[in-house]
Amino acid sequence: MSNEIPLQRSPHRRILGRVAPDLFLGRSDALAGIASLAPHASGPRGLLVLAAPAAGASELLRQAYDKFFQQHGAASPIYFQWSRNDRTVALAARRFLHTFLAQLVAHRRDDPSFVNAPPPLRDLIDLADPSDYEWIERVVEAFERARDRADERALVHLCLSAPQLAAARGARSLILFDDVHSVDKLKGEVNLGIEIAQVAVHAEVPFVLSGLRRGLLDTLNGGDSPTRFDSFTTINLETLADPDARTLVDRLAYARRVTLNEQTRDLIAQQFDGSPFYVSAFMQAAKRTGVELTSFLNCQKLYVDELMGGRANRRFNAILEEIAPVLTTRRALVRVLHDSAVNAGGKSPAEAWRRRLELEPEQLYPVMNALHTHELASFNATFMEISANPVWRDYLKASYRLQVAAEPRALVVAETLLETLKRAPQTMARHYRRASALGLRELLERFDAQRVPASLLHNDRFSRAYRGADTEEAGAGLDAETDLIRLPQVVHAASCESFHLAMRQVCDEERCAVAHGFDAMPYADANEIVWIAAEIEGKMEIGRALTEVWCDRLPQVANACGFRRVRLWLVSPEGFTAEAAELLNERDVFSSSRRQLELLTARLSPEGLIGEGASPEPPDEFEMVIPMGGDTELIAAHTVEQIARRLKFMPEAINQIKTALVEACINASEHSLSPDRKIYQRFRVESDRLVVTVSSRGVRIPTAAQQGQNSNGHDPVGESAGRRGWGLKLIRTLMDEVEFERVDDGTRLRMTKFLPR
């Protein structure tokens, strides 16, 4: 696949950011949240960033820093990463003060060189802006006195109050505290987490407090009277959503000049579960090793290399070293973790851990807590459950075999590769199935005690009334229905698997959901109800036998979970046969097809009311690859004709689009030394236009300036040089918008034709 996402020019200097802003994706809301913090504003005074591991929280803060550094006259951004490497509370506090003053001076002098290489504390006094000179000198002197007295508490207070002191002298700042959870590891008399919380809440300075989501609040909320973060907003930072993860892979491939294709791109995004850390590390490794990521085999070879000795390996090693610094304990820990992981459900009793690790309870608790904080396992008071994250599981298995079982490295590498390679198609299949699921849980959450036509929940009735009817007709019919069903007010919805693990054996997590709620007021036992909704896969109507299996299975789940009043709802893409419908009615089970579900979704959606003519989104993009030569442009022309007809373009416009596409294909064939001799086409349908993109690899066709030679209004006939350059002139005349996009390897031409209003 040619890399199709040209990087934009960076809008600002990179100071602390480790990736270009173009490669920092899916975090615009989080950045906006940080930007909303302003001193003296009426908005939130602070922000808690509860981050999933390896979700890129540090990079978020660094990108925010770089962004705010450019804003002269605004608050000075201060980025500080708390680290257990400081060893003591006093040393960490001292490093913060030094960092604070260096970054403040850097911002006020607009000199970012101080940020990465801070001058000594005393030198900062001389480098400070004249308006800051006096107060900085006083702070430094006060710091030196506290340090000399070895008064840890006074020193910590002084260092942490520096932003407040600066603000009182007119030097405003925005404090970005990273890895706050790690202060728990610092030795000292003062509980630094509590001190940070106090300062952040009470100072007239905005603070961003970021850390691992399972550790941050515990760190900040220690002590007898936990700090209340009423004036703070909270951001939950997860790994990237799938589209962002795929875009990140694409952009990294482009930036690192790594070849990949759509299949491997999707595998990388899926395998690393959208983690920017792992994806970046992997693409960096691909660049370093020169591996072409054009096959699952190449991808998985590199993945295993990363697992055995790359950044993924180093990350897990570092965490385990932090948790169990002594080698023998660490080896025992790997053994226990591995054995727990291979147990059914990945669970094992905490007591078994204590015995096998030979640790006293007060030694065991920090180990379990750290595993929990890093989300390598979940600690639930009486048992430990190992995380199902595939990268962690792969690392754990390989580490166990190498370190504990002492198997030959070559054997471990070979078998890990075989295993991950076998898993790759399953990973993708799982992803495709997940993407095609109907979203029952989300739909149940939106019920909100609304009334809907009963036929939306009775497939047989719906088929009788609306089979063959278009959306508008069906919408009108449903509007006229008087038999309505009141949906429950759902208070909690989750996958069925979350309640009953055995469901994992029979369906995907997304395809069966359980919703707790009330089907009438008041909130009382009698009105409590549980809906269990399951999606049955099938290309045709589901028959009686399979329906019966589900009609038996779901009550068993309800029974096993102790649900008292239950409503069952079966959904199948094409609905149910008449025989199945009979059974469903006998058992009083609701049933719907995909179409009913779409209509129901539209009714429950405030912006998508079916009665107002809204309809499910049609497929909006078509792609086609044709070989160059052999008049294959005609095949493309036929295709675009069909698409344009669907959009109801007039015949004349259809001819224009076809001609333009034929010319674009000829251009691609004639003006490139394409290595693959292929023309890539994409037809994107939008509400008011058709966008056709034609791209090819190889040598670029003439530049825009050269193209303009034939569009100067002269009669082309008779211009000897012009006759073979008419293609571009034609395209420009026939289409409403024509744009050439530069790509590294080849050419891309985008042509747009608007529908007449």
């Binding site: 001819n655 006939v717 008419w726």
Partner: protein, 131 residues
């Protein structure tokens, strides 16, 4: 329309000293060159006029058009006139856009084209437009 239009032979016929040449379904480089070769052959035979019939031509591209210009030039040098007949919608659009219609006459069909040529000969005027 086939996708390999250029491989089909070009059909032509004589009507007195007028040659009627039938373009194929897709006028591109290859099929255009075949049309051009046939036209030159007919001019060398002594034809005084060419009718290029596009009744089957559903698609033309700019390279095909540039070759047609070569045909028009050759005919002009031989003192022969050129008429396009039965031009379909897509081809007409492209001919118009690339200025070809300023150099040839367009007839509804072959019969109309032959009639135009006969009338021009009767009044002693070459049917080609002035460049």
């Amino acid at each position: 329309m086939t996708d390999q239009a250029g491989e089909q032979p070009v059909r032509s016929e004589r009507a007195g000293d007028v040659a009627v040449v039938y373009a194929g379904e897709y006028l591109n480089k290859l099929s255009g060159e075949r049309v051009e070769r046939e036209c030159r052959r007919r001019l060398e035979e002594g034809c005084r006029a060419l009718v290029l019939d596009f009744r089957q031509t559903g698609m033309v591209n700019s390279i095909g058009v540039s070759i047609l210009l070569g045909v028009i030039d050759a005919a002009e040098r031989a003192g022969a006139s050129v008429v396009f007949s039965a031009v379909q919608h897509q081809a007409a659009q492209v001919f118009e856009m690339l200025g070809l219609t300023r150099h040839v006459r367009i007839a509804k069909n072959r019969t109309d084209a032959l009639a135009q040529i006969a009338n021009s000969a009767a009044v002693g005027v070459a049917p080609n437009k002035t460049k």
